[in-house]
């Protein structure tokens, strides 16, 4: 129990002292992992803790990244405004999409997130004048300090740490407890006076906001955006990260992101068939570790957080 509390701090300490001894490639790899870890954790906020079948979370990642990039590239607005605008635009998109989605439940909720998300993708894909269409936007003029990989590393790590802390606080707050209650039992939640549609919408927007932050971070690391950021397969990938790490655990998705991003980059140097590898991971996961890595460990070493490969059941309510 004690150990579980310390591990994240140890991880953070190690990550803080690593850069001087790491080759550039690994700095880049880790910075990429931090970005996606935030994205996956934001998805799990509504997927694992809210029990909402969000099938297209990458949309908010993309909207955040594109808003940030377009403002920097095509307007004279200051950097800070663009930084803030990214997550805000993502949250606003989440509000629009969520407003429709929270009216339905289970699989229908999921299908709506997918359909409306694809709509956003289509707009970005087609609106070439603004978004560069299929080519995306390159050479985003981020301030020069971000040209240093080390800076990018520390900035993404800091933002990730702060965002995880905030999400953690939210989950431990009455809002978070109530969110888990609506996941466990929507009917009963209504009966004790919780407006579940409004509560779910708020959670949806919060998750979108943090995905938008991840989008901004992505641009700071990559200095480019493309429609693949908010493709359906991207959403599937981050969902797999959540499943791999453990839906009912807080750090699971970040761990899943680390494993998947690392593997995709490593495997990518040997073969083009990354998706095949991903498919095999998913297969093994579903068959052997349905509760995810951290879910499995939690179940093994403590009473709580683990168990519950029951998520699928709840999602169909």
């Amino acid at each position: 129990m004690q150990l579980r509390r310390i591990i994240p701090w140890i991880m953070l300490a190690v990550l803080l002292v690593l850069p001087p001894v790491l080759p550039r490639y690994y700095l880049y790899l880790l910075a990429s992992i931090f970005v996606i870890a935030l994205l996956a954790t934001s998805l799990n906020f509504i997927l694992g803790f809210g029990g909402l079948l969000q099938l297209h979370h990458a949309v908010f990642f993309g909207v955040g990244a594109y808003t940030f990039s377009i403002l920097l590239l095509k307007t004279p607005l200051p950097f800070v405004v663009a930084v803030v605008a990214g997550p805000v635009a993502a949250a606003f998109t989440a509000l629009l999409i969520g407003w429709f989605c929270v009216r339905s439940r289970g699989l229908y909720f999921g299908m709506l997130t997918l359909a409306l998300g694809q709509l956003v993708w289509a707009v970005i894909f087609r609106w070439s004048a603004l978004t560069g269409g299929d080519d995306g936007l390159h050479g985003i003029p981020v301030p020069e300090v971000f040209n240093s990989l080390k800076t990018a590393y520390y900035v993404t790590l800091t933002v990730l740490t702060v965002c995880l802390a905030v999400l953690y606080l939210i989950l431990k707050s009455p809002f978070g407890l109530t969110l888990m209650a609506t996941r466990d039992n929507p009917v009963r939640s209504e009966s004790v006076g919780i407006n579940i549609r409004r509560h779910r919408l708020a959670a949806f927007v919060i998750a979108g906001f943090f995905a938008g932050i991840a989008g901004v971070l992505f641009v700071l690391v990559e200095k480019s955006v493309s429609p693949s950021l908010l493709s359906w397969s991207k959403s599937a990938e981050i969902m797999i990260m959540c499943l791999l790490g453990g839906l009912t655990t807080f750090y699971g998705p970040a761990l899943g992101a680390g494993i998947i991003v690392f593997l995709s980059m490593k495997v990518g140097t040997y073969t083009e068939y990354w998706l095949l590898v991903l498919g095999i991971i998913l297969l093994v996961l579903v068959l052997l570790l349905p509760q995810g890595i951290l879910g499995f460990l939690a179940e093994k070493y403590s009473g709580r957080d683990g168990d519950k490969g029951r998520w699928g059941k709840d999602a169909s309510d």
Partner: protein, 245 residues
């Protein structure tokens, strides 16, 4: 306090409630009885907003509540327990009740205060009343059936209602567990002055705790009155009590 007038509800052609009438005054314990399929649970779902009535009026403290959403009705002071166990399986006992108490005090949306510091006293108070304190930290999945049923009641009390609706509070319980529940219900009515509306199969229990009865038969109110009156009622004897002896 609660008034139901000529309420009707149909499910795709099947008339579950044809014509229901019921009056519950403040501080009373009232039971709705009737054979299986008489529409008791449907009536409850209509009162608590899980279903919308086709016809008729449901008013609470003079205010029409028929067709409002469940959370709005709960906020007006109507709480319920469910016939089948309907709790939050992955939260612990304390949190199960706390969720309801937080909603009662409109604190469900607080984002940055740790939940463990809020409404602790109020929640413990409810747990204490129902003897659930020893199970505070237990994941409620791991409670016994009887204790889960008590927790079911505790969640409803967490809303601090003015009227409490109990849908078959002793369904599936052992005689001993039933006695515990009966004691709790009586305690709530007598010492807390809570208004209670319940449905129940166990006729001994009904005649033991209820001051007024309403008999529902094939979706229709066929009698309403004191237990003694209802026992004497010819229509009731024919429709219901007669059958079961």
């Amino acid at each position: 306090m609660l008034q139901i007038k000529q309420v009707a509800k149909a499910f795709s052609g099947f008339q579950a409630i044809v014509n229901a009438d019921l009056t519950v005054s403040k501080g009373q314990v009232v039971a709705v009885i009737g054979p299986n399929g008489a529409g008791k649970s449907t009536l409850f779902n209509l009162i608590t907003g899980h279903l919308r009535p086709d016809k008729g009026h449901i008013s609470f403290k003079g205010e029409e509540i028929g067709g409002l959403s469940p959370h709005d009705i709960c906020r007006k002071g109507v709480a319920r327990s469910f016939q089948l166990i309907n709790i939050f399986p992955r939260l612990n006992t304390f949190e199960n009740v706390q969720v309801a108490v937080l909603a009662r005090y409109r604190k469900s949306n607080k984002l940055f205060t740790p939940a463990r510091k809020l409404v602790v006293e109020e929640t413990n108070d409810v747990l204490n009343k129902l003897g659930l304190i020893p199970y505070r930290e237990r994941l409620c999945n791991s409670l016994s059936y009887g204790d889960q049923k008590v927790l079911e009641l505790a969640i409803a009390l967490g809303s601090q209602p003015e009227i409490l609706l109990l849908d078959e509070p002793t369904a599936g319980m052992s005689p001993e567990e039933t006695r515990t529940i009966v004691k709790l219900i009586k305690n709530l009515a007598q010492n807390e002055g809570l208004t209670i509306l319940l449905t129940e199969h166990d006729m001994d229990l009904v005649f033991d705790v209820a001051e007024r009865l309403m008999v529902l038969h094939q979706g229709q109110t066929i009698a309403e009155g004191s237990p003694a009156e209802v026992r004497r009622d010819k229509a009731v004897q024919n429709a219901y009590l007669g059958e079961t002896g």
